[in-house]
Amino acid sequence: MTTPLLSLQGLTKAYPGVVANDTVSFDIGQGEVHALLGENGAGKSTLVKMIYGLVKPDSGKMVLNGQPFAPAEPRAARADGIAMVFQHFSLFDALNVAENIALGMENPPKMGDLAARIREVSETYGLPLDPYRTVGDLSAGERQRVEIIRCLLQDPKLLIMDEPTSVLTPQEVDILFETLQKLRSEGTSILYISHKLEEIRTLCDHATILRLGKNVGECIPAETSARDMAEMMVGSTLQTPERGGRDFGEVALDISGLSVPSPSEFGTALRNLHLTVRRGEVLGVGGVAGNGQDELLGVLSGEITTAPDAVKMNGQPIGKLGPTARRKLGLLSAPEERLGHAAAPDMSLTENALLTGSVREGLESNGFLKWGETQSFAERIIEEFDVRTPGPDNAARSLSGGNLQKFVIGREVLQNPDVLVVNQPTWGVDAAAAASIRQAILDLAAKGTAVVCISQDLDELMEISDSFAALNEGRLSAPRETTGLTVDEIGLMMGGAHGMEVAHV
């Protein structure tokens, strides 16, 4: 290899109380797919934000094509040929594809010309996209294509992709990889951020591993086992969750023929859902985000009420009951969004323990609150789930994402639910905490709780669930036993590739 495209030399960035990046150095070669690996909080995002000009490094320098490179803002980075696809899309639902792309351009051409360019680029790279479709109607995979095409229109030298596959079905992932390989063969370098090791092993030429802001090693992914890479990321040996017996009891939760209109304009309607979960069983619900996951949780938690018979618990119709009545019966849930939905950000952990615990833990009598008992309940959650916080008086928002997630899951698990519904239980949580959350869910199932685990992390679902179903555009596939399911079958359950085709290489 000749001179690298981009060379990072001793980049350091500190925030109050934490060093996000500590003298990180590595090179990205010309036409190389370079993986940046690391757990949540390892400093991956800060690093790419420095490359993209969103954050200024405290010290260290970057060299692009032999020239010093210090972008003051994203516009400068883009001018130098750096493009980035963010994990969270910045698209306007109400505008069409071409309008969205024009909004991000310095000097947008005429709409007709732009649409033609979009068609041309999208065909070349196997990302077919109609420039005149409204973004609100697109699937997550298609939205990502809009973001990728927006980048490709700039002819980037370096394309940064932040966890691009977290919103894709396995088939869509294959197509994305074809596109990325075509780009590589044309000499574009790609910085690929992920914590999915198998993907990195198939796609990337080189990997840099970050842990606690430091570069802890590099490797050639194809020659390194996934386990070795994982242990480099975590810095210790990984514990795989275990579970006891798998004896299923009676059907605890029964949904039949459930249809719910979309609660908001760009939400998803649930269409004719059927599912049953037995005591002791873990049902994994996979699928790309935005296919009805939030709505399914709402229907189960009681935030969205339905016809009484559509949802039954232990044979009793509960579709009309609100959240409090369902908690009384033993149906507990933990939503995906921690701040603002599962917990009130500015309230203390004690108050947040009261939020769902009042009924089952007996924290009120005649409407009057028992603060003493509520505080001990919060303390119990903190202790048993190893929530790192100075105490229960601290506000929920002062906790890190992983710690708050442990608190939210712990709050429900400790109330001994008969049925537990969780949405994305380990999203944004580090590997050790994720393992302990999964273990808690499995322990609960072993004691006879029926669990519904909604997640986009297929590895997680394969690890903990007994049966698997996928949500796709508000429809749920028929649940199947997890053992023996292949990735292809899962992909098809998730809706295949949404009509995409492979890049014409």
């Binding site: 109050p16 009681g302 935030e303 609100g322 500015d346 309230m347 609150l369």
Partner: protein, 360 residues
């Protein structure tokens, strides 16, 4: 460069300190304003804050503090419940008027009978008048999703028209020589909200205000309903997840503030004001909004804020007559107080940092 940095925890210190700092800043900039009007700023500020409490005629002004403060506190307590939950009743002035009309109307229906039950019936009537007026925005919001800010505010002007109408018609004093306005309730023992101790300013409205403060404190800190009110204000989605029924909360909060505003109106008309007249309302319902925020929506804070606000009213009156300050200047002065409070409120959740030049 000045950078605002979000605090991990809301600062307790600043939460307590901002009202005090806001009052001090208002004194300072109010002084600048009075100086610009050609008055001696120190004298003007002294007149407003010192004269009513410790001046030569303080024996007269001190009871006035209770008389002016009680309706402010009573209304503000009710408003604070809704404000905590993100339910914005801006029409307390209208509910105050309606409470006065219904309360006085119930009493006058018995004229000239002397009986112990007349005053309690008037209290119930006042509460009902305020409640029903607040139910209009509440039910429209629950049923049709209308904006309670607009509806409650516009109903103030409807209530003012009603006030004018009854002053000239339904409740007009038949022995009033054609002047608009009702009979004077002060001269009718059964309906008079008299001082409980002569010369103290202490009347039933003051007692009710104190009861409301205690009630609100217990509700917010010890009761599930109060917890749900706070939760809804802080995180509406989490409140729904917790099982809060938003419609019930809207009806409760608007209803409670309507009842308290109605009571304030009733105690005013039966006591200090004495009669229904076209210009019976003097803006307590609007000023109470400032009082509620100045008191941090906290019951104890509202008592203190009501005191400060009553002080500026009385002190402002003195300054107008003694120093010839225009009444608009007094209103600007009161507005400044809310302005500084809201601006300084930022410091509870953010800290200001002078950013050092970043290392290149």
């Amino acid at each position: 460069m000045i950078v605002l940095e979000k605090r991990p925890q809301p600062s307790q210190t600043w939460s307590m300190a901002t009202p005090v700092v806001a009052v001090l800043a208002t004194m300072f900039f109010g002084g600048v304003l009075f100086a610009a009007l050609g008055k001696n700023p120190v004298e003007a500020i002294m007149t407003i804050f010192w004269e009513p409490l410790f001046g030569e005629f303080s024996f007269y002004y001190r009871p006035q503090l209770l008389i002016k403060g009680a309706p402010l506190v009573l209304i503000a307590i009710g408003l604070s419940l809704g404000f905590r939950a993100g339910i914005w009743n801006i029409g307390a002035e209208g509910q105050y008027i309606m409470g006065a009309i219904v309360g006085a109307g119930v009493g006058l229906a018995f004229y000239p009978l002397e009986a112990w039950y007349i005053f309690p019936l008037m209290v119930i009537g006042g509460a009902f008048g305020g409640w029903i007026w607040a139910m209009i925005p509440a039910i429209l919001k629950v049923r049709f999703g209308t904006n309670e800010i607009l509806v409650s505010l516009m109903l103030v002007y409807v209530a003012e028209q009603m006030l004018a109408s009854v002053s000239l018609g339904l409740l007009k004093n038949p022995e009033g020589y054609g002047f608009p306005g009702s009979r004077n309730l002060q001269s009718w023992d059964s309906a008079h909200n008299a001082e409980l101790f002569a010369g103290s300013g202490m009347h039933w409205g003051v007692v009710t205000a104190l009861i409301a403060v205690i009630f609100a404190y217990v509700l917010l800190n010890r009761h599930m309903l109060g917890f749900h009110i706070r939760l809804t204000g802080e995180a509406p989605r989490a409140a729904k997840f917790a099982g809060v029924n938003p419609a019930r909360l809207i009806l409760f909060c608007l209803g409670a503030s309507g009842v308290l505003a109605g009571l304030a109106g009733m105690f005013e008309v039966a006591g200090p004001a004495g009669q229904i007249t076209i210009d019976f309302n003097v803006g307590y319902g609007f000023t109470a909004i400032i009082v509620a925020f100045l008191g941090r929506l906290h019951p104890v804070g509202i008592v203190l804020a009501g005191g400060v606000m009553a002080l500026t009213y009385i002190g402002g009156d003195i300054a107008q007559s003694n120093l010839g300050l225009p009444s608009a200047a007094i209103q600007v002065f009161q507005g400044m107080l809310l302005f500084f409070l809201l601006a300084l409120d930022l410091l509870t959740n953010y800290r200001i940092r002078l950013a050092s030049k970043e290392v290149a």
